[in-house]
Symmetry: C2
Subunit: 466 residues, 2 copies
Amino acid sequence: MVRLLRPCCRLLLPNLSCRSHHNDSAKGKRLLLSRLYQPRNIWEEQSSHLESKSNERTSKSHKLMIRAGLIQSSSPGCFHFLPYTVRSIEKLIRLIDKEMHGIGGQKVDLTSLHPADLWRQSGRWDLMGKELFRLVDRHNQDYCLGPTHEEVVTHLVSSGGSIYHKQLPLLLYQITRKFRDEPRPCFGLIRSREFYMKDMYTFDATEEAAFQTYNEVCQAYSNIFSALGLNFVKVQADTGNIGGKISHEFQLPATIGEDRLLVCQGCGFSANVETLQPGERDCPSCKEKLTETKGIEIGHTFYLGTKYSHIFNATCYDSQAKPFVAEMGCYGIGVSRLLAASLEVLSTEDDIHWPGLIAPYQVCLIPPKKGSKESEAALVAESLYDEIIHSVCGLRGEIVLDDRNNLTIGKRVKEAQMMGYPFVVVVGRKALENPPVFEVRSHNAGEVQFLSREGLIDFLKTVQVI
Amino acid sequence: MVRLLRPCCRLLLPNLSCRSHHNDSAKGKRLLLSRLYQPRNIWEEQSSHLESKSNERTSKSHKLMIRAGLIQSSSPGCFHFLPYTVRSIEKLIRLIDKEMHGIGGQKVDLTSLHPADLWRQSGRWDLMGKELFRLVDRHNQDYCLGPTHEEVVTHLVSSGGSIYHKQLPLLLYQITRKFRDEPRPCFGLIRSREFYMKDMYTFDATEEAAFQTYNEVCQAYSNIFSALGLNFVKVQADTGNIGGKISHEFQLPATIGEDRLLVCQGCGFSANVETLQPGERDCPSCKEKLTETKGIEIGHTFYLGTKYSHIFNATCYDSQAKPFVAEMGCYGIGVSRLLAASLEVLSTEDDIHWPGLIAPYQVCLIPPKKGSKESEAALVAESLYDEIIHSVCGLRGEIVLDDRNNLTIGKRVKEAQMMGYPFVVVVGRKALENPPVFEVRSHNAGEVQFLSREGLIDFLKTVQVI
């Protein structure tokens, strides 16, 4: 046994100055498109039968994500995430983590199985009706699958002992899978039954402090959506079955949106139509006419007051050690929905456009077709690939080499545009000139440039990655 | 609306050369221990009532994790992960991702809700009995919560279109929450009902190629466990209800282990006792006497053959475009179990010892007590903190400043040891000498050194982080 149990002294990650999740390329391995798992026949055959298989209402992003092999349906409103989507979601999570840490958020990971008793205590066991997925375990205990975690987190904080003033505001958040038995799942990841949500719960000693926390979280949300280049609207919203005193939604205007918004061009007032009097079309602030638009909800914030902290007895102490029932807020971003909604508003009917920062891969490099006049530029393409990952540290693991050299450059460029790589570098005839010239297509900007090797490297150094 | 919809031009992550998930500190903010959420009263009151509340059998790691505020029980066998645990698990996931990418693994994320039909097709809907959590949706459709994903992934690959030889071997994996209604959950995260598992599924054209893939995955598993400094044993194992032809388990020898292993000191043969004839105690290879030990299973590999690919018709094509039913393998690492099992074998009864690489924070820096003789060293401590995160890029976000300066250094050192920070830096009386000297306690090595400022910085540059 002694020989088997020898610990290992292998050194890990010697290159500390450039940590990366995807450092295959750093080892000299090239990421080959032909190796990537992506149900390609769907793309080639345009197989619309797959799209119409279920009775779900579809949308542009839904169709594009199916066609491009980004997701695959498992059951109504439940989708497998395929490799491109996983990469994008992981980047989105890093962006969210960064902003949540920036405001002092601490990450937890709460169970998906919720004991029914907690939901009975809040009264939502009955209130949620069929939207809760319910089950019993082998001992006949009732559980639900968490669609949101107000009950669970408040119980956690309450049973974990007192919160002292130095810990306030306490901001706990998680990014986990949530479950909701939607009556009519539709639009792929936009309205699904199993989805990723970032949910944050905040605890403060006073209403005033809770408001400040509320505003800080809203600002962090704005930062996230802005970093994705999204044109969002923040509207006053209804508190629904979550409860509480104040609520806002972050909405992406879109024709498929299921929320109706009223926005004032004059003073910037904006509201979900649910919060206004029926028929009200004048701005409550400046009396201008309100404009109606539809929106996809991508974030929702609630100032809860003491609704849950009272039920579960979550107490915190101010600087004089005086106990208070905690003032709470809760805040959600539909993570997988945000991804799909971004594609919905940014893409064309044929081409995916990712928010640049969270594109699965930043660059697709296309070498010449085998047997073509420019075929000897293939070696140039490979050495260019290696030079980029050597010189542009941030792009390691971010460059796909489209090695399917039985296809023309034109066909592969078209596919690359459909997949939405933010940058496509074509190594074609001009790469054989002296000095070589490369075609660089910036997908989101809709620009084409011809750059020297050095120019290309300098250009790629400006690409933002997360 | 126009004014509201202005996109933002905020620059993200200007410091590309040092990407980090936790870059609070990079902004000059210090990580203060008093701000961290950790149910501290549990620790102070030693409250054993919390440990014995349920009827679950406990273990050293279970008790330590509860006492230190790393996890909290939600229901039998279900635990909330609190911030320290989330950080550790995220590091473990990065380590696993790195090794999986190294062998060409592609990450997917499959649904937790599995349609019953897939499990009926494989015959495991009945076979799994009460271990499956089952539920029905609002349309009375049967589902289970995935404890493992052979059915789902094989169906995915089969319905996603043909796999071409250039894509082979195809290695798909995920790191997601799994559900298993254990008859007797125990030992905290070691045998729980809701847990994180890394599961990989591989597809090859021939048995020979599948064996090669099998060996590569096993090697990656060994790399992961070795990187954690664990003394593991790889034993031949039973295939259980997963099925297949060959199977190995990766086991951590431990007194609480529920698997019985027989190991040959002579030739290195080792096996789960289930795979041998009852009463067999001689090594089948060299006839030496076998030694029995108990183990905690942390990884399991299966060469499945065509069991699932045959049922779900998963076909792949060799280089001559000849179709084959795919030869499959499946591979699991219990991620949350691996974390707990590591603590189980590395810790003492009182002090947590993390595998250094995945400790939640690498360094705890302890300034002097307020009002003590050395209290003016407090400023030295703060400037030291700032210098470290400035000079040692890899440690950004990894250093906690124990700002509870109402407590003695001794008390905080004791707590830091209990929490298992790999490195504790004490800024005490010697820090006021000229030049200043710092006490550095290496928890896992059990060493204490006294270092100059430069010596300390150089020492910390050698700390491995992921």
